[in-house]
Symmetry: C2
Subunit: 151 residues, 2 copies
């Protein structure tokens, strides 16, 4: 397990070379498949499931998607969100939002369309935990109805 290192990338303007660099910066060898999966993660504004990924990328076997996501996770490139009914979802760490060093990752789960949104603007204040509990990281998930489904 690698320690996460803080980089500052502008994901919007990344080309293939930048993506290879991103992988290498995290100690991951860049392969064609990994670049495809990385791109898919990057293009998604929301956390997505392994299912979503394997559906979207027909050319890569699900076992490889699984192992790639595990690798990305081990190397601190993505993190997982446990989203109730939707199962585990994967999301790229983005330099401008959350990382392992931010305690809190607020997410919104729409009970209608089942999408999960990253609530980037919302910060969760420090809580006063009981004595003796060492906090590593927190995750915060709210269920509700998203603007699209409400309309």
């Amino acid at each position: 397990m690698h320690l996460r290192i803080e980089f500052s990338y502008n994901f919007a303007i990344m080309n293939n070379n930048d993506l290879e660099q991103l992988l290498q910066d995290h100690g991951i060898k860049a392969t064609a498949n990994r670049l495809i999966i990385l791109k898919a993660l990057m293009n998604s504004s929301r956390p997505i499931t392994m299912q979503d990924l394997t559906d979207e990328i027909e050319s890569i076997d699900k076992s490889n998607v699984f192992r790639t996501l595990s690798t990305f996770r081990e190397h601190g490139l993505v993190h997982v969100i446990e989203a109730c009914d939707e199962g585990v979802m994967y999301e790229l760490y983005r330099s401008d939002s959350n990382g392992p060093h931010n305690d809190i990752h607020p997410h919104f789960h729409c009970v209608v369309c089942h999408k999960v949104f990253c609530l980037k603007g919302v910060t969760v204040p420090k809580l006063n935990y009981p004595e003796g509990f060492d906090i590593l990281e927190g995750s915060f998930l709210v269920n509700g109805i998203c603007p699209e489904c409400k309309a």
Copy 2:
């Protein structure tokens, strides 16, 4: 799905009659098996998995445990916690702590012993959600190391 009704029970001193009453208060017919499962839930100071329950109660088939937990859930007697690696966990609603009308249920997941604790004393302040997101309920899970495992 029943609306949850607020009762005030003293779980510590409940006998069999009280337990039957508790079930009936929630619109659930009291059967021998359901009382056993209810007791097990009540005796657990922490949320537990279906696996835990079926292991603990050898006399009841897992399908019945499953259906009983579903029934309890539908009738607002227990709620579920999605605890990352541990899968879903079940916990009795206790009159003195959380219920569907409390937005937030903070829980602590120990990454060493894999237990999940209910952080009763900790309240999560209201957050300022973005426009358009209708909040139904939130869940808050922190990962870390519990006092026992730290020692």
